[in-house]
């Protein structure tokens, strides 16, 4: 309880104060970070002492709002705090008081999503997140940003209406909103009303969470907005939808649903990323692709699978934000990489890109290796293995394509253009793998470092590179279709996705 309150109040105060006294905006934000990280530290200590905790806000017992502290909460909250620190360093006092206010409000909402364990509280926090995100997307007032923001606004509002309808149905059957109580009340209930209600809620969360068919707003919004905002949105804001899905999975056994969704999301995202030729677009599609892994993790249904998903959630946030910031610090986010000889990047950006790419390709001992290997252990269906292999291959291909253009072909700028915050972030991301190693303990990691594992994970990028050498020209001629990403079609595909969800839930 203290952990949540410390974070939320310090972020809100930081936001309001930076509006009122905009001269000290940067210091208020630093104080906000300090408050949130002490809140996180408090929660970590609590978790170490007594394991997962569920407590009611305001000690109202059954009547209040529940919050939960478990691995997912802590990993996500640490992502928020980490990204807060590095984006703050990256900003270094640039931007106005209003920007810092919105920035802190975004952090407030995402931080409180981490703790939410009540279906309606989840709705409110996620809506809060998306409203702030929309303002941040359109902050520079470029017309394409405004359009991307408006698209996100309309689709997400529609989606949250679906969530609310689903919530109504679930509440009527279950009678509670607190997830713990509701899970007990719904035990053994497999009625149609419940299935459909939960399906509606998942559809609503999927729109926020970057799942293919649902989140067609994502590529535009994440690639058109300014760099810090892209990093924050891709890194942590879309994760709040996924946190929602993790929480919902306490209520019901999803069966194959999330696996199917994860497979489709992962493969389609990678395919579109491969076809794109602007770094920020590639990274935005890559976010969709990486969400696939998280869904696969949740879809396994085991607690270790959910831990793997949460770990991936953290690591993806870190390396994706690093990639966005590296590209953005060099100012090449919107450039076409087919003419990369004309671009020039500072050394820190190249190092950041390299570390981020090694992470995203899951090369040991970089961070994603641990979450992916942990996930692979939990998967026991062969087709999921194949899907993961294909996703790994796709990831390796678009990453190598990006790296070839931005690291090898481009020029290196003189020393003065280096961005120290990107450098620091690079080091942190590089080290986060070792943190995971320590955290997971020796029993797991000995197993993970078996020779056959290593061979698989190192050979995937090699094969990807070879395929790229062979067919690279073919891919660069393609470009992702703009058709499914238009506002109307994105909304149709949302409903289509919902009907698909229901069919999978009812039949499989």
């Amino acid at each position: 309880m203290i952990g949540l309150l410390a974070g939320v109040t310090s972020y809100i105060f930081a936001g309001i104060l930076s509006l009122l006294f905009s001269r000290y905006r940067y210091w208020f934000s630093l104080l906000g970070w300090l408050g949130a990280s002490s809140g996180l530290a408090w929660s970590v200590i609590l978790f170490r002492d007594s394991g997962p905790v569920i407590s009611s806000l305001g000690s109202w017992g059954k009547l209040g709002i529940d919050i939960k502290i478990d691995e997912t909460t802590l990993l996500f909250a640490s992502l928020v705090v980490a990204l807060n620190l590095f984006t703050l360093l990256y900003l270094r006092g640039r931007r106005e008081g209003t920007f810092y206010a919105l920035y802190n409000f975004l952090l407030t909402s995402v931080y409180s999503v981490a703790f939410a364990h009540d279906l309606f509280n989840l709705y409110v926090t996620i809506e809060f997140m998306s409203l702030v995100a929309i303002l941040l997307i359109g902050y520079e007032r470029k017309a394409y940003q405004i359009y991307a923001g408006a698209k996100y606004l309309l689709i997400s509002s529609l989606a949250m209406s679906l969530y609310l309808i689903g919530l109504g149905l679930v509440y009527r059957v279950g009678g509670y909103l607190r997830i713990g109580e509701l899970a007990r009340s719904l035990e053994g209930n497999t009625g149609f009303s419940l299935t459909l209600g939960l399906g509606l809620m998942v559809a609503g969360l999927a729109v926020k969470g970057g799942i293919f068919l649902f989140s067609m707003w994502l590529p535009d919004a994440h690639s058109y907005s300014e760099t810090v905002v892209s990093a924050l949105l891709s890194g942590m804001a879309i994760k709040s939808g996924l946190i929602g899905i993790i929480r919902l999975s306490e209520l019901v056994d999803w069966g194959q649903l999330l696996l199917v969704l994860g497979a489709v999301t992962g493969i389609m995202g990678a395919l579109f990323a491969l076809m794109s030729d602007r770094p920020k677009k590639v990274l935005a599609y890559s976010t969709i692709s990486q969400v696939g892994y998280i869904l696969l993790g949740i879809g396994t249904g085991t607690s270790a699978g959910i831990l793997a998903a949460s770990l991936h959630l953290l690591f993806h946030g870190l390396f994706k934000a690093l990639l966005f910031l590296s590209v953005g610090a060099a100012g090449v986010g919107g450039k076409d990489i087919s003419g990369a000889e004309d671009l020039s990047l500072p050394f820190t950006s190249k190092a950041g890109l390299l570390v981020g790419s090694l992470s995203i390709m899951a090369i040991p001992p970089f961070n994603k290796y641990f979450s992916k290997a942990l996930l692979a252990e939990q998967v026991n269906q062969e087709w999921v293995w194949l899907v993961m292999l294909a996703m790994g291959l796709g990831t390796a291909m678009y990453t190598l394509k990006l790296n070839w253009a931005l690291i090898v072909e481009s020029r290196t700028e003189e020393f003065s253009k280096n961005d120290p915050s990107v450098g620091a972030f690079t080091v942190a991301v590089a080290l986060s793998g070792f943190v995971a190693w320590v955290m997971l303990g020796t029993t797991n990691t000995v197993h993970l470092f078996a020779l056959n594992h290593l061979a698989v994970y190192i050979s995937i990028p090699l094969v990807g590179g070879l395929v790229l050498l062979g067919f690279g020209k073919r891919f660069s001629e393609l470009s992702p279709p703009s058709f499914p990403f238009k506002l109307d079609n994105a909304m149709i595909s949302l409903f289509f996705g919902f009907v698909l969800i229901e069919i999978i839930l009812l039949i499989v």
Binding site: S59, L63, A101, V173, G175, L196, F483, I492, F495, F496
Partner: protein
Amino acid sequence: MEMDNFSFSVKKTFTVIIVSLFGGLTISAVFLGRSPDTARIGRLYLERGFELENISNTVFGVYGMFRFYDTLLELMIFSTAVLGITIFSDLEPSTRTRGEQMIESHVVTASASFLYPIMAVFGLYLAFSAHLGPGGGFAAGVIGGSGILFLALSKGAEEMGRRFNEHTMKRVEYIALVFAMLAMVLGILFPKLIFEDLQGIGVIIVVNMAIGLKVFIGTWAILHFFVKHRGEV
């Protein structure tokens, strides 16, 4: 023309089919689901709510006490919307010439200047009595803020801008928000002390007033923006 080869009629049919499927599924869920009359949180709220002597409106008890955290986040959402509006408020107003007065009719002017104090009083009443009957800080703020619109109708937008200095209003608004937030923190940390030992009532009224004030100013800011940029769409 940009529809690729997906013509509009195909899109129309597809949309109608897909959305109707969604509707059909949901409707059948409405009919197939059973609502258990026992073991609902709602009953607990009613029982516990009626135990509290000061609060006869249980709905207020739910959003004003038990789930005040949600209400605070809701307030933050409203603040965000207002902040968004104020960020964009320096958009240049329309280049075309328009009449200064929105409506010149004397009847409207007279009735507006008559209605405005009534709405203000009604808003205050709602803020004071939310724990007893329907109302609450939020509706109160919006009604008071709409009263401002009537003031604008009767006195003109210029006068409205002069009477409510933007800078001061912003400060008051955020101070009210900070106040509501402090109340939340206190309410969550020491609920028994505030709501039961201190009889809660004073705190509740003050919190409602703070929310009402915040929403009132937010409403004013939004209306001011839209009056300034009226006819833009």
